[in-house]
Subunit: 197 residues, 4 copies
Amino acid sequence: MAIIVDKEQKKRDIALGTKQLILNDGINNITISQIAKAANIGKGTVYEYFKNKDEIVFELVEILMQEHNKQKEARLNKLTSTREKVKSFFSFFYVDEDKELREIYKQFTAIALSSINEDMLNFQTECYILYEKWMQNIIDEGIKNNELKPRAKNLIMGIFAFTQGVFIMSVTTNAIKNLQQKIDTQIDILFDLMEKK
Amino acid sequence: MAIIVDKEQKKRDIALGTKQLILNDGINNITISQIAKAANIGKGTVYEYFKNKDEIVFELVEILMQEHNKQKEARLNKLTSTREKVKSFFSFFYVDEDKELREIYKQFTAIALSSINEDMLNFQTECYILYEKWMQNIIDEGIKNNELKPRAKNLIMGIFAFTQGVFIMSVTTNAIKNLQQKIDTQIDILFDLMEKK
Amino acid sequence: MAIIVDKEQKKRDIALGTKQLILNDGINNITISQIAKAANIGKGTVYEYFKNKDEIVFELVEILMQEHNKQKEARLNKLTSTREKVKSFFSFFYVDEDKELREIYKQFTAIALSSINEDMLNFQTECYILYEKWMQNIIDEGIKNNELKPRAKNLIMGIFAFTQGVFIMSVTTNAIKNLQQKIDTQIDILFDLMEKK
Amino acid sequence: MAIIVDKEQKKRDIALGTKQLILNDGINNITISQIAKAANIGKGTVYEYFKNKDEIVFELVEILMQEHNKQKEARLNKLTSTREKVKSFFSFFYVDEDKELREIYKQFTAIALSSINEDMLNFQTECYILYEKWMQNIIDEGIKNNELKPRAKNLIMGIFAFTQGVFIMSVTTNAIKNLQQKIDTQIDILFDLMEKK
DNA sequence: GATGAATGAGTTTTCATTCAT
DNA sequence: CATGAATGAAAACTCATTCAT
């Protein structure tokens, strides 16, 4: 039992050691040698834990995602109004605190777009479902509190696609100057439709 | 006298020859050797026309984009209602006719996300501005025809981000089952708000 | 006849156009393309005049050498004392005026050391003989003028080897700080032995 | 445990394997492939030990230099008269025993002349300083033994430049027929001035 | 289990030379 | 005569993966 825990921990250590490497050089430009060195292990040992480089990145993203979700929850718990909660929810795309994860998310999305595989597809799907449910609960609570009209539920989901899209556009063009404002405005428009006056 | 070659045409030919290669194997998996073979020229000749592989992909995307825009215009001209025009405008993301360009667009976006450079940034920005103006004109016409309320203009622009985002989600997750319906529904919601009854 | 002259002139033009290229990038790093462009002719045309790159360098060195010798003669004619004439003779190795030719001489010597051929050998031999005779004449004149003892002739020739050697050392090590002083001192030592008091 | 390899020894082996290759084909005409084959290793392995071809040549020159210096010392120890010691010291430039090193020295000098770098400059400087000190000691001993006049020290150093220069001339021209005689004569002239009668 | 030395297939890139016009 | 487009051989270099210890 203890050994299994150790093995899991070592996988995490290797993956986490890769984080700075990715941030500095980009996923496509790092080598197994660098990963091994960053984790203070031999090159061959990397293969004891991962089948290939993509798996390491995958492990890293999973770890960071979990971490991020904990922080997200903590941040959300500090807020009371539903509007603020929703804004905080999507602040991932612009807030300085999430800069590193955002960079890795960008690179991970690039991989997903150019060479998706079953595992990544399932992982991304699970993530999406998790966030959708999470958002669902926030909205439900707002309805229960008499903050929002019941039909709010139907309107809010498009915001996922919008934020994702406007983020991609902000990264790949010069046309989106103030991302936070763009996202917040969109949320405000929706809430003006959804809130009970 | 020396052989006179239309350098621009030859660049186009090489780039177009690369298209099937990219569709089959993906940008990251093709070599200059393959590109040369596909264009029926020597490896060295490729370098007479392009500094590196990325430039070829760039050239190809530019050519296909121009082609696509001509077809887009033709399709739009056949339609009369603004609603249908807008739907047609964003049908790029699901219509079978644009499948190939969509695949290349995906891969190009992947490059943009993982290693953007000045040229790509400018190109993508120009594209975005072009499409925004185009859409602007469609809406303006709808307003002029008394089809739409004047404030329609302000509402429609978020649709770019939405379609982009929902497309990415449809490709990277299993959660988006019917992309066309998702996009059309969103457009319908907006038009129900914008149309004069 | 006129055509032959033209052809010779064109050869000279091509070679001279190569000079700046060599000074900037080094003989090993310039291409036929660059040479053709510098001479404002086509790449194929270069081959009408030269069999290969080495021949161009060769032609250039011959031209510059002739030019240099004219200037050398002019400089020497301005001087009266034999000692000053000898110093001026070897000032090639340090004087700012000859900097460019010195750089090309360096690179030419490098070629000679790594891959000498019959033609280069003959050319270098002729150069050496020319300079030896020239120096001979200077010394003879000094003897005729009763400036030098008759046996001076036997002593002076080692100076060729010395200057050549100390120049190579000044270029390939940090140990030779003041090349002019080193050369002049050596000449002074010899003249103190050779001059009639 | 992993295979333990004496990395330094392996570097030496690779470099030494390159020696015959250089002697046969010249530094500029050998490839990494050839070097790998000569050392009975894979191409990639070469890069585990050296960053590029120049480094290998460098390593080889350092090894051969050390070897040479040991032999030089042995030869010198067998001699008693200072004159003979000095002649032996510079016999490197003509003696058959040092033919191979001389060829490599030639090619190394060619590299130094055409594309010197910090490391080569420092190496060559160190070599020069070493030999200068060595010669210094030989002369000092001659003075202590009452063989030479004390001022001998000042005269002898020019011999380095002379031998270097006359060697270069013997290689790049046909004008130097008997190199050994030229060098020995020069040394004799100096000793006639320096020796106590 | 862990290691890291060894590998060689695979890729990019260069450029002197040719030759059809 | 002049050209410059086309070439492909040849070279450097990379790196994921293997495997003997």
